[in-house]
């Protein structure tokens, strides 16, 4: 190894180590709190003297009044995320097919309106959305959150699916039409199988978006038995003497599924989403 390679490697390490510390510090701190007994959680050590899984046992056993409905809230998060994923997939695939393959009249306008929705900052849309959900009588109903997240997830999903389906050769459709395929047969037998990879990406995107959402969930739901786990975590902040180590243990549990899903579907996510996110 020449001197030159050694300095190059050293320079790379000089970037890599700070990047590692910067990235992992908050996550490590989360983990550290979660495995620390209550007394030593605040000692500031980089590793607890007596690491323990007791916090998780307390969380799973719902042994604190902040955690009274832990399992129910976890279930709420799950059911809402899955519903948003499924509904987004349905709505967006239908719309993308209609716009891209059937060239429906007005499709371009709808696409532009969808893009416009996508670009309104979500925190700005939250205020009128909250008021409107009140008018519709949906406040404190989980459908409010599902429909709100569907509204937020759909535009980008339609756009990504439309980009992907514009790339499919039109000869396919023409051949199917000449063979007399009805629009629905075209959709079911030609379109869906070819779009499967993009649909996996979009389903995952919508699911994660809904699972991770805080603002809309906290605005639209308030009953302890209806809120998602994310909102429940935020509620710990209401008191100064909350059991922070339990909060962090719950937070870790809440963070694991999306991380696992992300790494499982990374292939689809990175290919399907980043390519679509910014078209230069």
């Amino acid at each position: 190894m020449s001197w030159r390679t050694v300095t190059t490697e050293a320079k790379l390490l000089l970037i890599g180590i700070p990047v590692l510390i910067w990235t992992m510090l908050p996550i490590y701190n989360l983990f550290l709190f979660a495995i620390s007994p209550k007394e030593s959680a605040f000692a500031g050590n980089l590793w607890p003297d007596h690491p323990t899984l007791r916090n998780f046992a307390l969380v799973f056993g719902e042994k604190h009044h902040y955690l009274e409905h832990f399992w129910l809230q976890l279930w709420n998060s799950l059911i809402i995320a899955v519903s948003v994923g499924a509904l987004t997939l349905f709505v967006a695939t239908c719309a993308a097919f209609a716009i891209s393959r059937l060239k429906v009249r007005g499709g371009r306008t709808v696409m532009n309106l969808a893009l416009f929705t996508y670009f309104i900052p979500a925190a700005f849309l939250a205020v009128p959305m909250y008021k409107t959900m009140g008018l519709y009588g949906l406040l404190n109903n989980q459908w409010a959150l599902i429909l709100a997240m569907l509204t937020i997830a759909a535009p980008y999903s339609i756009w990504v699916l439309k980009q992907a389906s514009d790339k499919l050769p039109f000869e396919l459709d023409e051949a199917a039409r000449i063979d007399g395929a009805s629009p629905l047969q075209l959709f079911r037998l030609v379109y869906l199988p070819l779009m499967l990879p993009s649909m996996v990406a979009i389903g995952t995107y919508a699911l994660l978006l809904a699972w991770n959402e805080y603002l809309y969930a906290f605005l639209l739901l308030s009953n302890d038995r209806q809120i998602t786990l994310g909102v429940a975590l935020g509620n710990f902040l209401a008191a100064d003497d909350s059991p922070w180590e339990l909060l962090m243990a719950t937070g870790l549990i809440y963070a694991l599924p999306p991380a696992a899903i992300y790494y499982t579907f990374k292939r689809y996510m990175v290919g399907g989403l980043t390519a679509g996110a910014v078209k230069s």
Binding site: V19, L30, C94, T117, A123, T132, L219, P258
Partner: protein, 292 residues
Amino acid sequence: MSTLVLPRAEPALPVGPARKRMSPYQKWGMILLVPYVLILIVFVLYPVGYGLWLARHPESYVKLVDDPIFARSIVNTLVFLIVGINLKMVVALFLSGFFVQARTWIKWLSLLFILPWAVPSIPTILSVRFMLNPEWGVINHLIFKFTGTDGPNWLNDPTIALAMAILMHIWKSLPFWTLILIAGRMAIPAEHYEAAAVDGATKWQKFMYITWPSMRTLYLTSLILSMIWTLGDFNSVYLLTGGGPADLTHVLATLGIRYLRLDQVDLSMAAIVCALPLVLPLVFFMMKRLSR
């Protein structure tokens, strides 16, 4: 059960302008578009119209301008956008160059590097909030260990608290933008760099004459999109500082929600309407870019 129908007499041309009689393809296109159009009307167009109607009173704007928190929020938002985003994108551009280096350990590091983006923001932001606690947070422990002095009271000083919120935002979204810029760098043909190496170009020259020209458009688009998203970043500020101390670290995204929680919806909508001159040009820029 599917029955095959005979080919239609009309030519099978799906593309092209609307025809007078509605073909089954048009009919089904409209049916399939209905679910999304309904969502658009019920949950976007109507709420937006209703919100603008709520913001119609001039008095709301007078009250808003009289509120010192509003002025402070505008300044904070601009600092967030100008300092935060530029810092984030420059670092992302730099790191994208680091992550394209072919090393096994860099590949592993890139898997970890994506974590902030892959996990939900609530637990990690709360974790940072605890790290910054002046009495028992790990940061001040480390500062005390190494320097023997007490660290600052991070979230109790409006300037430091805002800086921390900006860093929080960068921590969360840096991986995403780095990924985007890595994709941009990978698209540059390797031959360009090889040719430049043969000509004896320096690293800086390679960047200026090969990398930057081919990434300029992507970088600009990312910058604008990132601005729009940052305007809507509620979590980084709300969960870290709660807008405090003394409501001095609010940005427009949290201010609107603050008024809403105080039952002052007209002020909330007025604050959002005041942000529109900033948001709409960015939105139209992005729409033009994406709808090509």
